[in-house]
Structure formats: structure tokens, C-alpha cells
Symmetry: C2
Amino acid sequence: MSKPLILVSNDDGITSPGIRTLVEIAKTIGDVVVVAPDSPQSGMGHAITIGNTLRLDKSIAFDDLGIEAYECSGTPADCVKLAKHHVLKDRKPDLVVSGINHGSNSSISVLYSGTMSAAIEAAIESLPAIGFSLCDYGHEADFSHTREYVEKIIRQALEHKIPENTALNVNFPKKSTEPIKGVKVCRQAHAKWQEEFDERLDPNNRRYFWMTGSFVNFDKGEDTDEWALVNNYVSVVPCQFDLTAHYAIARLNNEWSL
Amino acid sequence: MSKPLILVSNDDGITSPGIRTLVEIAKTIGDVVVVAPDSPQSGMGHAITIGNTLRLDKSIAFDDLGIEAYECSGTPADCVKLAKHHVLKDRKPDLVVSGINHGSNSSISVLYSGTMSAAIEAAIESLPAIGFSLCDYGHEADFSHTREYVEKIIRQALEHKIPENTALNVNFPKKSTEPIKGVKVCRQAHAKWQEEFDERLDPNNRRYFWMTGSFVNFDKGEDTDEWALVNNYVSVVPCQFDLTAHYAIARLNNEWSL
């Protein structure tokens, strides 16, 4: 039987330790092609490159593993579009994986996430897709405890298929002395980032800001991704790209006069 | 009674004709503050500025209307965050409106839309929000037929409130000889962009790409935004930021071995 074809992308850029971990794992399961940004694209959400040109070049980043790789000047969503319609024009990936992100993409962070935008873009293209993220922003983050779970989840996705029109958002607790307790299928917690802006003056006395903030979880549910992560489980949230709040349609029709 | 406070943003930039139309309409209803990007940000999706500084300066763009305005170096989502946590720190907007976008944000385009990311960011901040878009990409687009509907929808939103945790995605058909038939509350059509990449060589003989594409609607439903727009109705889709595909959780729990 031929090996499955696995497309790998990310948002931290093609030379980040997280994507290397993911490529190493994917390589034990299938044939791997990498199409990833040539520079960090964190927080890019579902941005795409409009009104500007895109570069796509062969990359040597994974030559040591004998893996075909391309680096792209665009966003994670651009990478998946270029992979689908150009690099893999005559090959259909059996799975698209994105990450492993240096930093959490749980709860509301999924909206800002470049990692998940690559996975969701693949889902829009009817390709099974998973985004993997580690709750550790450090460039030197320890991914060792994620390996067995990444492999298990990829194998399950290939065997059982991912529900149509969804992409999985998988987050791992930061490496600690406690072992991971297992995997929980969750819903996205209702939470947000409480921003603060650190105001400074540049050397020319012009004002600028750094965005800082803290994460606030309003959700007491024990079925959320936040609950799972705090309790040392791997969280898996199936995400959809139909944003319609179907429950609100009747109310708008009944209460508003349009 | 004091007038409602309306925050206006967009993604085409603070000098685009679309935001001027929206500001003119909002001004007839309430007190207006503008916080908008200092340059076009189309296709930015829900991108935010991480690892980079932000500028925010007083803008003269709406001095002729006597309206307080600020231009920001960041994305539409950044603009709303800066508005909420800095510009309007001691004032709470009664409504956030974004647009009017030069180009459609119906169906799957909502994911790539900077216009809608401003509205959705406001909804995350528990502020009622609406994104307005016109199915005409031209800089010289004719917005005249949208005015009465924009005003009506803003007044209804202030009177009846927008359902919690949602933002409205409002799209207008391109100006034509036929009058608009009315307003339809819709769901997001299942559709996608079919990309093609136009490959060229730069003056140094290095390869680059332009992303082009055509819109493909797979959805035959007559309750979709695409149906409404093609039939010359204004489409209104309530959008949520909970991406969980709740229906898929049971299947993952039952069929997968995690």
C-alpha cells in the first residue's frame, strides 16, 4: 500500500523548532511535503495576500531529512492555497497538519491563529486538517511530551477521517513534571484577551504602542479546551468555517423590522 | 436623551470612500468616533499585530465633518482593540460599525475579511457590531443605494439590540438599474474561492505569483447570503466567534480512539 501524503505548514516559519518536530513525526507515518512561511506569521489570523505578489521557493530547511520543502513569502493561508493549487496540483494530500505552534491556540485564540488558519483553509478545500499548538511561547519550548499524542492523532485522522467541513484544533499543555492525563474532545471556551497598551516614545519623540494583555476565561464549563489544558489533558476542538449563528436568525426575523 | 456613541472602523483605510459614506450616515444617528487603518488592509482576516509596535495618531480625515478620528498602523482588529482600551477607555460605544467595504464579504469571504474582523473583535468585547460591504470592488463604487438600508439597520440595531456574541455581516448588491428588493436574514452560503496562481518573472528573472481566483457557490439553498445578493436583496448574516463544530464532538468521542 502506498504511504499517505501529508502536507505540513505552520505560522512560526519554516525554520521553527515546532514545525521540525511535526515533520519528524509525520515522516514516520507518510510521505511529507512542507510549504511554510519564510518568516514568522504569528497572529495573522485568516489573512491572505491580496494586491501584492507572492514568492515561493524550494527550501533546503528539510534536506537533512530528505523532505521536499518550499518557503513562501505569504501567510499560512497563502501557503495552503499555493500548496493545493500549485505545488501539489497533481497530488492530493491525505492530510494537512499545521504547527506545532509555539504558543496556545485554545479558546478565542483560534481566531487570531495563523496555525489554525492553515488548517481551516485546508478544510475549506475539503482536505482533512489538524492544527497542533503547545501552550509554551518559548522558541526553546520542549515538545517531547507531544510526540506520542501527535502521532496517535494523525493516525486516527487517517483511519477514521475528520468530520467534513471541520478542522481539528489540538492544544498541548506546557511540558511539566506531571505526565499528560490523556485527550479530551472539547468545545471552545468562552474567553477573551484583555488588552492593555504600553505607550512609549520613540527616539524622535513620536508615540507608539506595544499590545500586551492577559487571558480571561469566563467559562466555568468542564467540557472546554481551557479546562482540559489546565487539568493537563490534550484538548481537541473540531472547528467549522460556517460562522452563521443559526440560533440568532429567528430572533432577527421576529424582532427586527427590516 | 443623549445621542448614541458609534465607533466606525474599516479595512480599506481611513481615506476610502466607503468609510466616508458610513461616517456620514452614522453622524445622522449618533456621536461618531473613527479609528481606522492608515492604509488598506484588505484580506487581513482576523490578523493582529504581535511582536511589532503600533502607531495611533489623530487624523484630519473627518475634520470637515467635525468628527474625532484616529488612524492606526495596524489591522482592523488592532483598531478596535485600541479604540476600546485606549481611545474610548472612559466611553462605551453603543454600536461598532465597520465598512462600507469596497467588495463582497458574503459567504466564505467573511473569514478573509478585515471589515468583519473589526466587527467580530467588537463582539468579542461584548459590543454590538455590524460589518457593511458592497459587492463592488471599485474605488469609485457607487454607494448611494446602500444609504437608506445602512441607516435602517443601524437604527434597528440600536433599538432591538444585536443577539449576544454575534456580529452582523451585511452585504449589498452592486448598484444596478434594478432597485433593491428588501433585506433577507440569511445563513452563510457553502462556497469557496477557486484559486489560480499567475506565475511571472521579475526583472531579475526570479519567479513570483499573483493570486487570482473565482468564486464557486456549491450551495443551492434559497436561505443563503449568496442567493439573496444574486436576487438583489441586502443579506444579513449573524456571525459567531465560537468556531466549535458542536455536532462533530459526539462522532469524535464515539469513533476515534484517543
